[in-house]
Symmetry: C2
Subunit: 189 residues, 2 copies
DNA sequence: TGTACATCAGTGAACGCGCGTTCACTGATGTAC
DNA sequence: TGTACATCAGTGAACGCGCGTTCACTGATGTAC
């Protein structure tokens, strides 16, 4: 083999990480293939050595985040406890798009509707989140699954709404309300 | 005046209604100006007689829905009671995009971020919704506003997630969980 | 009432731009002998 | 150890398409006289 498999895997990894950050920050449409390649110091031509298409890159980005999360979930790391996930998700850091791990927020509805591979990637992500929430809901007397699903909806909806509104104060209020109610639902506060 | 002002207003109205349905069904990007004009039996050229740009059309569409809702809100029509709004929002009808009134679900994040006029239109919409929820929460003992905000987040998040997932069963589960928890929060069930 | 004119909705071709995708080619590197 | 070869990452120009936007022009209609 003229170029090593390891090298290929490293570059792919790097591209996924960049894509991840860019997609989350700017949204699917606003990120061009040039942008992603440039972050890795490459030009557009070699993109197709790594991915079949832009939607493929997106789907793989989602899967990449999920894989990273999955690894942490079974350990003791408090970052992967449900309440911390919710706090991170609805944090100002994620809101200001400095950093964040939810690709859903930036994806236009038309692409989701068209591409089943993306929907499948999201599905895995959603299932994992809901599973964690369900597992970590402290008080098990009541129907958990509904609450776990609702917490996921609160996170995404809270962030989408906060980001869609012009007034920063209203945005913050929305984030904080979503967070407060989500924590209550999980009986984490 | 060679062509009547009334005519202008009628056509504009028709375009907004079409745009509304199309945007909601297919998402911002997937709807072209041609599509909107075709629904009114016109060709693309005259679009700019009515709107300054595509984003202007979008912003006005949002405002149009808000105006329509606002009229109904103060009457006795049960369709404008908070619990019915939530039920409609999280209904299968809205999910299947046969009909629906939330333009937020179909708008890509990049456009929201770029265009302040759209964010302002959304802001008005969000404020109105939250206001209705707040007003109609039956039990006033607890902090209402947080709950009202959370209900809005639940609606949007529930629908976005349901639409982003490949498995219809999971999608239905998500919708129903969001609905159930939203109704509980409003103490409407 | 009838005629000339001004206005503006509507037309459809053309423009321009962004961007995903393709392609012929280069050059570095690992492998075979 | 050294040399020829095959492989494949990487390049950058070019293609093609969709679509928002512009523009010169037409034609219908309300208004002025």
């Amino acid at each position: 083999m003229p170029t090593t498999r390891k090298h290929h895997e490293q570059v792919r990894e790097k591209l996924l990480t960049s894509a991840n950050r860019l997609f989350n920050r700017d949204g699917y449409n606003a990120v061009s293939i040039d942008d992603v390649m440039a972050e890795a110091g490459l030009t557009r031509g070699s993109f197709y050595t790594y991915f079949a298409s832009k939607t493929d890159l997106y789907a793989q980005s989602v899967a990449h985040v999920v894989d990273a999360k999955r690894e942490g979930v079974n350990g003791d790391d408090p970052r992967f406890k449900a309440d911390q996930i919710v706090r991170d998700y609805l944090s100002t850091t994620h809101f200001d798009a400095v950093d964040g791990n939810c690709l859903m927020v930036g994806l236009p509805g038309d692409i989701v509707r068209t591409d089943p591979s993306i929907r499948q990637a999201f599905e895995t992500a959603v299932r994992m989140m809901v599973e964690i929430f369900e597992r970590d809901i402290s008080d098990r007397a009541e129907p958990d699954r509904n609450r776990a699903l609702a917490i996921a909806a609160l996170c995404v909806g809270g962030m989408v709404l906060a980001r869609s509104v012009d007034d920063r104060e209203l945005a913050d209020e929305m984030r904080q309300a979503a967070l407060a109610v989500a924590l209550t639902l999980g009986t984490w506060s």
